[in-house]
């Protein structure tokens, strides 16, 4: 097989790069073992939420954040790039409008009622903004496991908001949809696409709402017809309606995945889902092929001029720790930076604590090209984006999607510029 550009990874970083490359007219092949974290994570674009204190204004916080962390990927991505990438996403997917700016973070409730800072959020989540305080009713769907509006409301009512305001939140449980089995978020998303179902929900809910209350639903308001579903429900209830991210699977994330995948295909991209990039061929400091494993018992090399590594982090197997305690990058055999020295602790007991291994990843130059162990560009035509980048701690900083989007956007810019 051959292409102009090959992207490895079908997460937010890889798909963003893929869409932009394909739309720039490059013959682009995207290889992914499967979809990435988008199916699991809320679709919010969190640029910077904690540094380590709560960040209210990401644009203002970024300069000192990167000054203190010269190895952080944001040190290679200007604030303009971050903002441009979010603007691109929003303008690009009309049915999936995003709102927000880099100037300030929203504070949206999580499924367990923690206020979470996000810079760019799906339009249908925005009315959950807690910053100015308000009155909220959270609707509970009985067959949806893992979503407990009473817990959500209780925690939220006790939350300390930076603005000093308090939130008045309560739960309203809707009756059973009549199915015996649990219903997944996706199952509910399909049910909500049905007008009849929405009218039953609205009829049950309306008399139980109090004046001035906005209504939060788990993020299941439609999959393919999300916007009409959400707007219709808002109409029926006569008040702001918003979605709260659920535990996996994330319907909001799946919508984002669909939108990006469809844009990629519409631009003529070639998508190979279910194939694994198992290695590469290189020559004189240049990658010539990525070798993928398809169903046949033969390696399939894909020849291209540019390559993007967007394979995620440890969770996706992009980077792995072997039984000798060594850390490897799985496709190009790149050097992994930020690995604690032999004998130093690699992990600490509490998951969300500062994990010494947490910043391990690929170190890059200004154009996001991987560096070798000596700090030189490893391959001139290989770029890296997303969670594979070293130096960040996305889950502590709340920067995962912001980094994935901005870096995917930036590597595409670098390649398109080179190509022209």
């Amino acid at each position: 097989m051959s292409a102009d550009a090959v992207v490895v990874g079908a997460g937010l970083a890889g798909l963003t790069a893929g869409v932009r490359l394909a739309e720039a007219g490059l013959r682009t092949t995207l290889v992914g073992k499967g979809p990435g974290a988008m199916h699991l994570a809320p679709a919010t674009i969190d640029v910077l939420g904690y540094a380590p204190d709560l960040v209210e204004r990401p644009a203002a916080a970024l300069p000192s954040f990167v000054a203190e962390r010269p190895d952080h990927p944001y040190a290679r991505l200007s604030a303009d790039t971050v903002a441009a990438s979010a603007e691109w996403l929003s303008a690009h997917m009309p049915p999936l409008a995003y709102v927000g700016t880099l100037e300030e973070n929203y504070l949206l409730p999580t499924a367990v009622g923690v206020p979470k800072p996000s810079a760019f959020v799906p339009e249908a989540m925005a009315a959950g903004d807690l910053r100015s305080g308000s009155r909220f009713a959270f609707a509970g769907l009985r067959a949806l496991k893992d979503f407990y509006p009473a817990l959500l409301a209780d925690n939220l009512s006790q939350a300390k908001l930076p603005t000093g305001v308090t939130v008045d939140a309560r739960a309203v449980h809707l009756s059973d949809p009549g199915t015996e089995a649990d219903v997944s978020p996706l199952g509910y998303a399909r049910m909500f696409e049905d007008r009849e179902f929405r009218s039953v929900v609205a009829a049950e809910l309306l008399p139980r709402l109090e004046p001035g209350e906005s209504v939060g639903f788990p993020s299941v308001l439609g999959l393919h017809e999300h916007r009409t579903t959400w707007l219709d429900l808002q109409d029926r209830l006569g008040r702001p309606v918003f979605e709260v991210p659920t535990l996996p699977p994330s319907v909001a994330g799946i919508r984002l995945f669909h939108a990006l995948r469809d844009a990629f295909l519409a631009a003529g991209g070639r998508l190979l889902i279910g194939s694994t990039a198992a290695g590469a061929e290189t020559k004189d400091g240049v990658v010539t092929h990525v070798v993928i494993q398809t169903a046949a018992a033969r390696p399939t090399p894909i020849e291209a001029r540019w390559f993007v590594l967007a394979t995620g982090g440890f969770a996706e197997g992009a980077i792995f720790l072997d039984s000798y305690g060594e850390v490897h990058e799985s496709v190009f055999g790149l050097a992994v930076s930020g690995v604690p020295a032999a004998g130093e602790p690699r992990f600490v007991p509490r998951y969300f604590d500062d994990q010494p291994m947490g910043r391990a990843g690929i170190a890059v130059d200004e154009r996001l090209r991987p560096l070798d162990a000596d700090g030189n560009v490893a391959f001139r035509n290989l770029f890296t984006a997303g969670a594979a980048l070293g130096g960040a701690e996305p889950w502590r900083e709340l920067s995962g999607n912001g980094l994935a989007l901005a870096s995917g956007f930036a590597v595409a810019s670098a390649i398109v510029e080179w190509a022209s």
Partner: protein
């Protein structure tokens, strides 16, 4: 590590991300099937030699979509297939499954009797009787016998001369007995591109036996087939298949599901197997595909079947269609037509299969001006049965556009 350990052992890689659950076409339409994560890596831990704690496994259609999308490499569909075979061995395999799993045997009986056999297959009363006795749904798509096999045509077909290149064609049972036209068109398209087409003796690949849990028989068939094809592969010939599911069987499924990873013949064959569209596109990328296509003025919905997606090669048919002037192709974003080989024929699964395919049928009906295109035979029959719109293999569009008809 033997394959069983490797397929089953992959369940330890499951991180419970639920990605497979969001894609499973069956669990998305019926509560009878709790989904791949649950039935695959989760329940497998509880299965012992004494049996499976849960029979919902039987509702897995084996479409393989879960394995295709699992980012952790869990062999979910393969785990399910192996567990289903064990469960059926313990609980007994219905006569129906033993019959529909043998298309080549059916073909041998039906071909000489084609007019009579077809009369019965088209007869409502007969289909009703079959439903009552065998539990094959009376409305399920059933192919008709062509009356003359592709093999017999191929034996009389003069080889292309002069030819500098040769290729081996694996036609599968369905093209042999039911759709020899598809195979003849494949030969014509390959010959048009300068290939002498070798059609070795071949029988069933064992896939329907495998899907119905008859593993020993499936192994016998696939090993024999591999033995017949291996000498060509060893000499460097590529092998193309028009049946995308049988091609996948030879590429990977037999090695994994039937634990034949050590079968050298199969490995050699797998290394040389190509889906026909994959092969033609690779020719095009090397500048070796003839592009003297005439315009085809029609709008065609294209469905890449689940088993085609299992190849991990993208959708080469779409790119080939892009070479044909005038042809407008609308790619269906539906992953499965529901039938999944023989699943949708079974009375207790027919409704599920139709519901799985419903969004596809709507797209096909909305888009098609003349025909729909799809790589897999059982899926074509399902689409046609459900929509009334004739469905063709992608090579048929190439054949027409080359003006070979």
């Amino acid at each position: 590590m033997d394959t069983m350990e490797w397929v089953r052992g992959s369940l330890d890689h499951c991180v419970k991300c639920t990605i497979c659950e969001t894609f499973c076409p069956v669990s998305n339409v019926t509560p009878l099937f709790p989904g791949p994560k649950y039935v695959g890596p989760q329940l497998e831990r509880f299965r012992t030699d004494d049996g499976s704690p849960d029979a919902s496994l039987d509702y897995c259609s084996g479409c393989g979509i879960c394995t295709t999308v699992c980012p952790q490499g869990v062999k979910i569909a393969e785990i399910n297939s192996q567990a289903r075979a064990k469960m059926k061995a313990q609980r007994g395999i219905p006569l129906r499954d033993r019959i529909i799993a043998r298309p080549s045997a059916m073909g041998k009986v039906g071909t000489p009797l084609a007019p009579i056999a077809n009369f019965f297959l088209k007869n409502h009363a007969f289909r009703w009787l079959v439903e009552r006795t065998l539990r094959v749904h009376r409305k399920a798509p059933m192919p008709l016998f062509a009356g003359r096999t592709f093999q017999s045509w191929a034996r009389r077909h003069p080889p292309l001369t002069p030819a500098t290149k040769a290729i081996v064609y694996f036609h599968g049972c369905s093209a042999n007995h039911f759709e020899p036209r598809v195979a003849q068109m494949a030969v014509a398209v390959l010959e048009h591109n300068g290939y002498r087409v070798i059609v070795p003796r071949q029988d069933c690949c064992g896939l329907p036996l495998q899907s119905n849990g008859l593993f020993d028989d499936a192994r016998r068939y696939v090993r024999k087939l591999a033995r017949n094809l291996e000498p060509y592969a060893r000499r460097g010939y590529d092998i193309v298949a028009t049946s995308t599911s049988c091609g996948l069987m030879l590429k990977r499924e037999a090695r994994e599901i039937l634990e034949l990873e050590d079968d050298e013949d199969l490995r050699t064959v797998s290394a040389h197997m190509f889906d026909i569209c994959e092969f033609l596109l690779s020719l095009h990328e090397r500048g070796a595909l003839r592009t003297d296509f005439r315009p085809l003025d029609m709008r065609v919905p294209y469905h890449a079947p689940c088993q085609q997606q299992g190849h991990g090669i993208g959708k080469p048919a779409l790119e080939l269609f892009g070479l044909i002037p005038g042809l407008e192709v609308v790619d269906s974003d539906v992953a499965c037509c529901g039938v999944a080989g023989t699943y949708g024929l079974k009375t207790e699964k027919y409704d599920i299969a139709m519901e799985v395919g419903a969004p596809l049928f709507r797209q096909v009906t909305a888009v098609a001006t003349e025909v729909a295109a799809c790589d897999s035979e059982t899926c074509r029959w399902q689409i046609t049965r459900a929509t009334g719109i004739p469905s063709v293999h992608p090579v048929e569009l190439l054949y027409r556009a080359y003006g070979l008809s």
